[in-house]
């Protein structure tokens, strides 16, 4: 009974970890880079 419970807990933890890992990996968004970028502002008064 106890072994079955531990197995279930381990399964639940590993499934949760896998899902979290997928979401985290997928969510490491580089989308914003595709949408724009930074441009250095030159002060016209300096030129």
């Amino acid at each position: 009974m106890a072994v079955k419970f531990i197995r279930r807990v381990l399964l639940a933890v590993s499934v949760a970890g896998a899902v979290a890992g997928v979401i985290r990996f997928k969510g490491k968004g580089v989308g914003a880079i595709k949408q724009g970028g930074w441009r250095k502002v030159t002060d016209s008064k300096q030129n």
Binding site: A32, G37, W38, K40, V41, D43, Q46
Partner: protein, 326 residues
């Protein structure tokens, strides 16, 4: 003569920048005399004369830049009573509010008091003004800061994540727990993207003072999980002598030609460097009589020479970056 109180990271950057602006007489005071002597020894030579003085001798300066850890209230009051103009780099909310109450004293003594002339606050106000000029009207400002200057700044950053953030929201000041409200903010390279959280920053208070028309103002700081977890306990590991590359990001929303517009401007530089250059440029503006009105002011305010300050700051090597959509 321009005086510098505190010869740490920000104080030394102030001295370097004033030397770059060919300021002839600079005097430095630090609680640890050896630190100010080392700074004077390193920067002496050329056109600038850098001397080490005691605290009382600061009263003979025209402007004094306060670069030590906050609070700056007592020393600012002492200097204003002696008709010495003060530039404070304090980033503590209570200290900034207390400093603003010295406006009357400054005016009575024909002196100027600039509150929060550092990176955040300070540079943030200047960037808002810079962006606001391209809008017909602005109503929202969101500031995000990454990194720390010297050890005192790192301690303040630690405290900022454990207190209460203050933000202006549709006509009222809202207090929310610091460390909440995660938002992913992109800073220019090499900083990149960081999760930012509400922080106990004085920026909303000072920016709202400079821009009364604003409806929403928030201030956020970057933090890791470790920062957020350990922010509620005292700092167990002493902070480094200086933080690494930092960033300041200012997002302004408003109306232009009848359309809703969002614009972002940012700086990627060491926070101590930005704070030192902003404080030195402000002191230089007072010394060269670019700021006319006596009393307390904040950067970005209409009474300040904001364009001139931005030009000076850029000429001292701080680069501004504008976000461009693809």
């Amino acid at each position: 003569m321009i005086g510098i109180v505190g010869a740490g990271v920000v104080g030394s950057r102030v001295a370097e920048t004033l030397r770059l602006f060919s300021q002839q007489q600079i005097c430095v005071y630090d609680i640890e005399q050896i630190v100010s002597q080392r700074l004077a020894g390193r920067l002496s030579g050329g056109k600038s004369q850098i001397g080490v003085v005691d605290r009382n001798s600061m009263k003979s300066a025209k402007v004094v830049v306060l670069c030590g850890p906050s609070p700056h209230f007592l020393i600012a009051k002492e200097l204003l009573n002696a008709s010495v103009s003060v530039v404070s780099t304090s980033d503590d909310i209570a200290d900034c509010l207390n400093l603003l109450t010295l406006s009357q004293l400054a005016a009575e003594n024909n002196a100027k008091l600039i509150v929060g002339a550092a990176s955040s606050p300070g540079m943030s106000g200047l960037l808002v003004r810079q962006l606001a000029e391209s809008f017909d009207s602005i109503d929202e400002v969101h500031v995000a800061l990454h990194g720390t200057g010297g050890p005192a700044c790192a301690r303040q950053h630690h405290r900022a994540l454990s207190g209460q953030s203050i933000g202006w929201h549709d006509g009222e000041w809202l207090r929310r727990p610091a460390g909440s409200g995660r938002e992913l903010c992109w800073f220019p390279e090499p900083v990149g993207a960081y999760d930012c959280y509400r922080g106990e920053l004085p920026d909303p208070l000072l920016i709202k003072r400079a821009f009364p028309e604003l409806e929403r103002v928030t201030g956020r700081v970057t933090a890791t999980r470790r920062d957020r977890i350990f922010s509620r306990v005292p700092m167990m590991i002493p902070p480094q002598a200086e933080g690494g590359m930092g960033g300041l990001r200012v997002e302004v929303r408003g109306m232009k030609s009848g359309a809703r517009l969002v614009d972002v401007i940012a700086v990627a530089e060491r926070v101590g460097q930005v704070a030192g250059v902003v404080a030195a440029s402000t002191a230089h503006a007072i010394d060269t009589n670019k700021i006319g009105e006596h009393g307390a002011h904040v950067l970005g305010d209409e009474s300040m020479p904001n364009s001139w300050l931005i030009t000076q700051i850029c000429s001292a090597g701080i680069n501004l970056h504008s976000f461009v959509r693809a």
